[in-house]
């Protein structure tokens, strides 16, 4: 019964041996169900069944997932413990007006002007600012120094990261980290990490981080960070 032609002949016979009739109640149930099932509009059926639409839907799902990840990263970026993310360089050049001193400024861009950064670091070359602020609890501003006069060929001096609302927890996390050195005279507490050339300053429940953009930078010394911190802390 199991030769190539045999199996086909046997299956032909087997499948067609006995016609079966569907019970009336099955069709009665169908009639009942379609009475409660609205037909879908043409566009929805075509959209769901079209292979091209399947591709479009997949692309849309992927795009939505990427957007969610990006948005989630921006909102939930970790702020405590070694290895916390550094802000990305941004694309919003800001004017260099002097912000008015206040308690709990809106964002990192209010903490220091470009001129103040240049003076604190005793630089003769100009300094600009790139701001990353989505109006959330965490914002940052990068201070690049244009290189050879070309805006795009710049070297980043440092980053100011400003965290509102949950600064105490973040600060305590850094304080208990390996290699932390306490710095006095800045806010309600300040921590310096020589290995990361990064300074954390706490005031109220607000935390400012002064750090290099791309990993430890020996030019960002404790003295330079303290000079920056001394200005920043008056506006936190």
């Amino acid at each position: 019964m199991t030769g190539e032609r045999d199996i086909e002949r046997v299956l032909d016979r087997w499948f067609n041996e006995r016609p079966r009739e569907v019970a009336d109640r099955v069709l009665d149930d169908v009639a009942y169900r379609i009475d409660h099932q609205r037909q879908q509009p043409v566009w929805l059926v075509l959209w769901r069944n079209s292979p091209r639409m399947t591709y479009v839907k997949s692309t849309a799902v992927i795009a939505a997932a990427v957007l969610l990840i990006v948005a989630g990263f921006a909102v939930l970026r970790p702020s405590t413990g070694p290895g916390a993310g550094r802000p990305s360089p941004t694309v919003i050049p800001s004017p260099t007006t002097v912000p008015s001193p206040s308690v709990g400024v809106a964002g990192a861009c209010d903490l220091m002007t470009a001129d103040e950064a240049r003076n604190a670091l005793h630089l003769s070359s100009p300094v600009t600012r790139d701001i990353l602020d989505f109006g959330l609890s965490i914002s940052s501003v990068t201070f690049p120094s244009p290189f050879c006069g070309f805006r795009n060929a710049s070297t980043s001096l440092f980053v100011l990261r400003y965290e509102k609302g949950s600064g105490t927890d973040a600060f305590n996390g850094w304080k208990s980290g390996t290699g932390a050195e306490t710095v006095s005279g800045l806010g309600e507490g300040a921590i310096w990490y020589p290995s990361k050339t990064t300074l954390y300053i706490l005031k109220g429940n607000r935390l400012v981080t002064i750090m290099p953009l791309n990993g430890p930078d020996p030019t960002l010394t404790l003295e330079a960070a303290k000079a920056i911190g001394a200005i920043v802390v008056t506006r936190m």
Binding site: I7, N16, E17, R18, P19, R20, L27, V30
Partner: protein, 183 residues
Amino acid sequence: MDHDLVAAARRGDQGAFMDLVRPRSNRLYGIALQILRDVDRAEDALQDALVLAWRDLPGLREPDRFDASLRRLLVNVCIREASRERRRATNLRVLPVDGPATPDDLLTVTDRDQLERGFRRLPADQRAILVMHHFLGYAPAEIAETLGIPPGTARSRLHNAHRAMRAALEADARLTLVGGRSA
């Protein structure tokens, strides 16, 4: 006539839809029963497929394709249902291994029993392909269209399904032989 019924059903006429499916229901039920090998599941699959067909009927651009689209829908519902059944690895209600409606000297009761067991061992898509080919008389090109796969793939899957069925029958025969000797 069917063309008019399809047009009316597309506009939401439930009576027209039932008039369309009633004469086709036994054949459709046969497809579901052959693939699923279970009366209850076949009835459920047929109902689900018909309700889906009703729901999506406005999207049927060519009324002449009503039969093909209905069968395609049903086969896919059955494949999905059969896959679930395999995952659960249970058979709630086995079809009786009954004799043919007319006297038949080709298949014995033992043959039918072996065929039943062998067929149940096959994956859902292979079952569907065999049913389409041997029960509906579909050529590989029609199987390809129904499953949305290239014709070459349909041909090779049909060949593989035959081979799998043959292997299942041979395995079953060996088991029967061993069981008979040990008994």
